[in-house]
């Protein structure tokens, strides 16, 4: 189960390869269908902008998966954050900062509880975060049943604004990804995450406080999810208790991380692979729209693509998985 490099790695497929393959398919399909306007920079930017919410969530998800945990509560937390943001703002510009602080606080509390339940109560992360998702969703649906509150017009520029012709949201995603990548690659905390995910017992023996690393990872993941909630509140103008669930951000964020080469067992992968996964998902969605693929066929293809992409990594690997 350890990540010793296998001596017989002849054919290794990385996220870059898959991204290039997806890009080639995308371009060919668009040229073939004659909708060349979709290759204009504006349309490409539009396509990527649609993936911002998934992208921010997936950054956090990648971090927890790297330390061999997982977070199924992100979708519920996204809804809760969006609702909290739009209710606190209530349409007034002066309330933007308090709302952001409240949302970030909510994210931290959820992340902290997730981390503590996993490390102190030693509940399997899948169950712990699934339970957390149910608790958040339940409370949220008990309190609000529809769009609640409103964000002021100025806050909506988080979604609609541009800087130097680039959408603010896309720049923001880039910054989040770069920041997370810097943490993972250049800080002790980052290398600890890889160590804990690679082999938790060895990490503990090496003197790493593994519990703290896992709790911190969950804190970051939940913060990312609550920021996604802020972004969606800006995009939709308000928050509703179903937006996270309807966007399937929990399962999709796991899927893009895994497609991007992050191993579910932990210890291997990275943010840029996940970003490649997000870009692939965005291209698939856009392609389905351009080609007018029927919604049900889309679903079948999506399922197959997820499995195929992950299977591609396993070529040449001899590790057993469960």
């Amino acid at each position: 189960m350890t990540s010793l490099p296998s001596p017989r790695r002849r054919l290794r497929i990385g996220p870059g390869t898959i991204l290039l393959a997806a890009l080639a398919v995308y371009v060919i399909a668009i040229l073939w269908s004659g909708n060349t306007q979709f290759l204009r920079p504006g349309n490409i930017l539009g396509m990527l902008t649609r993936a911002v919410a998934l992208g921010i969530t997936a950054v956090g998800q990648t971090i927890v998966i790297l330390c061999a945990s997982i977070d199924l509560s992100v979708a519920a937390l996204i809804s809760a954050s969006a609702v909290l943001a739009s209710v606190v703002m209530g349409g007034s510009t002066t309330m933007i900062v308090p709302a952001i602080l409240a949302v970030l606080l909510l994210g931290m509390v959820v992340g902290l509880v997730n981390g503590l339940v996993i490390t102190r109560l030693r509940v399997n992360p899948l169950i712990a975060t699934l339970g957390m998702a149910m608790v958040i969703q339940g409370i949220l649906s008990a309190v609000v049943s529809n769009f609640a509150g409103e964000v002021p017009r100025s806050f909506r520029s988080f979604d609609s604004g541009t800087v130097l012709g680039l959408p603010v949201s896309l720049i923001f995603l880039g910054l989040v990804a770069a920041g997370a990548s810097a943490i993972l690659n250049w800080t002790r905390f980052g290398s600890n995450i890889y160590a804990v995910g690679g082999n938790i017992d060895a990490a503990r023996l090496a003197g790493i406080r593994t519990d703290r690393v896992i709790i911190a990872a969950h804190l970051l993941c939940s913060l990312c999810a609550s920021v996604t909630g802020l972004y969606l509140a800006a995009r939709l103008g308000s928050g509703a208790p179903w937006i996270g669930r309807d966007g399937m951000y929990d399962l999709e964020s796991i899927a893009v991380a895994v497609i991007g080469g992050t191993v579910l067992a932990g210890g291997r992968g990275g943010i840029w692979g996940t970003m490649a996964g997000v870009a692939i998902f965005a291209m698939i969605d856009s392609l389905f729209n351009v080609l007018g693929v029927d919604a049900f066929a889309k679903q079948v293809l999506r399922g197959g693509i997820i499995v195929a992409a992950v299977a591609a990594y396993a070529i040449g690997s001899r590790r057993l998985v469960a």
Binding site: N35, Q37, F38, G42, N43, G46, M47, T49, R50, A53, A80, V83, L84, S86, V87, V88, G90, L106, V109, V113, L116, V117, V135, I136, I139, L140, S141, A142, V143, V144, S145, N146, F147, A148, G149, R156, L232, R235, L236, G237, S238, A240, P241, W242, I243, D246, G247, D285, S286, N289, G292, D294, A295, K298
Partner: protein
């Protein structure tokens, strides 16, 4: 720890949310308006309710006249994620086949996500392929800005659910949720004694079109002095519906069942059958399985409808707008008939699938009945 923080969060959220839930699902003005519309005589060709309208007001569309076709109509669909939308979407495709001037219908499916539908509308507008845009919004508030932006570029038609802007050329919808609730509840009030026990079954909270059905139904049942023993959410799930009704039967008698949508009506009826009770007064909807059960058991029942023929109207409107002809607007209110014991026979058709919506106005459309999943009659 968990409990305390979550409770604190709940209280905080509750306090914050109370003044903010401004949307009113029990609006007496709307109620009265829809009550009047139910009784109004529709304008337009008889026998073709999808072309009729209840409010006598037209919009001039000469500015949109697009000359000779073929034209491209674009459609941003909230989703085809339930049988009602499946029937409607089939209607719409068949209606397009009747219009040679419409060369292509570009259909984009948001799969029930606001976020995705905003992107879809932006993409459709940016593609420059569309002569007219039809939108069936996933939710009202979230889609408003995207629709506003689209209005500045091309003529927009909105149907089913509305948006908070009057920029679309017309907004097509049947009478509405209050009307639906009124028809069913009034039938119950007329057919049971005062003080009778009524069970109300709802799909889920928070959906505008369903909340208004409930508030109108509840208002009439309460005014008639009936005893509402419970209002339960079924999630639109058959098994859950049947279980809930079984549980209620164990606790006392039920004289009438009111439902805000009929997809699980047969499961609710079976709870009575399986446990040896007579089926009480029933409010369902126009799904085939319910209509067949009603006919077979000779029930005292009514089927209010939210007609799927409204999916034909946007295409008709699009064709007229592209020809520069006036259309009913800014709201095109379609009639919303209920199926009653008198006309039940003309809607029952065992060759159609169980959740086919009988008030589809699709019998004369090309491809019927196979395209709707029915079997051709011998």
């Amino acid at each position: 720890m968990t409990l305390r923080t979550t409770t604190a969060m709940a209280v905080a959220l509750a306090v914050l949310a109370l003044p903010a839930t401004a949307q009113n699902f029990d609006d007496p003005t709307e109620f009265a308006e829809q009550e009047a519309q139910l009784a109004a005589t529709p304008i337009g060709p008889e026998g073709a309710p999808w072309e009729q309208y209840l409010e006598d007001s037209m919009v001039d569309t000469a500015q949109y006249a697009a000359g000779e076709g073929p034209h491209t109509v674009c459609f941003s669909n909230a989703g085809v994620n339930n049988p009602w939308r499946v029937v409607g979407w089939t209607n719409m495709q068949a209606e397009v086949a009747l219009h040679p001037e419409i060369g292509e219908l570009i259909h984009v499916d948001a799969e029930g996500s606001d976020d995705k539908q905003i992107g879809d509308i932006n993409d459709l507008v940016a593609s420059g392929n569309c002569d007219v845009l039809i939108v069936s919004p996933n939710t009202t508030a979230a889609l408003t800005p995207a629709v506003e932006a689209a209005c500045e570029v091309l003529p927009v038609i909105v149907f089913d659910r509305g948006v908070n802007t009057d920029c679309p050329v017309t907004f097509i919808h049947p009478v509405g949720g209050y009307g639906f609730g009124i028809q069913g509840a009034r039938f119950i009030a007329e057919n049971v004694e005062e003080g009778a026990n009524v069970l109300m079954l709802r799909i889920l909270p928070g959906v505008d079109v369903l909340e208004t059905r409930y508030s109108a139904g509840r208002r009439i049942l309460d005014e008639a002095g009936l005893n509402v023993v419970g209002a339960e959410f079924t999630d639109g799930d058959n098994a859950k519906t049947k279980s809930i009704v079984e549980d209620y039967l164990q606790r006392g008698s039920i004289d009438a069942v009111w439902m805000d949508a009929g997809a699980t009506a047969v499961a609710a009826i079976e709870a009575f059958e399986d446990n040896g009770y007579d089926v009480p007064v029933f409010v369902g909807e126009d799904q085939q399985d319910f209509l067949q059960k009603w006919q077979e058991l000779g029930l005292t029942a009514i089927a209010p409808t939210y007609p799927t023929y409204q999916w034909r109207t946007p295409i008709i409107a699009a064709a007229r707008i592209l020809a520069g002809e006036p259309v009913p607007g800014p709201e095109w209110v379609l009639p919303q008939p209920a199926i009653t014991a008198e006309n039940l026979d003309q809607y029952v058709n065992p060759d159609m699938p169980p959740l086919h919506y009988a008030m589809c106005g699709c019998e004369e459309l090309p491809g019927y009945p196979e395209a709707w999943g029915g079997q051709a009659s011998n």
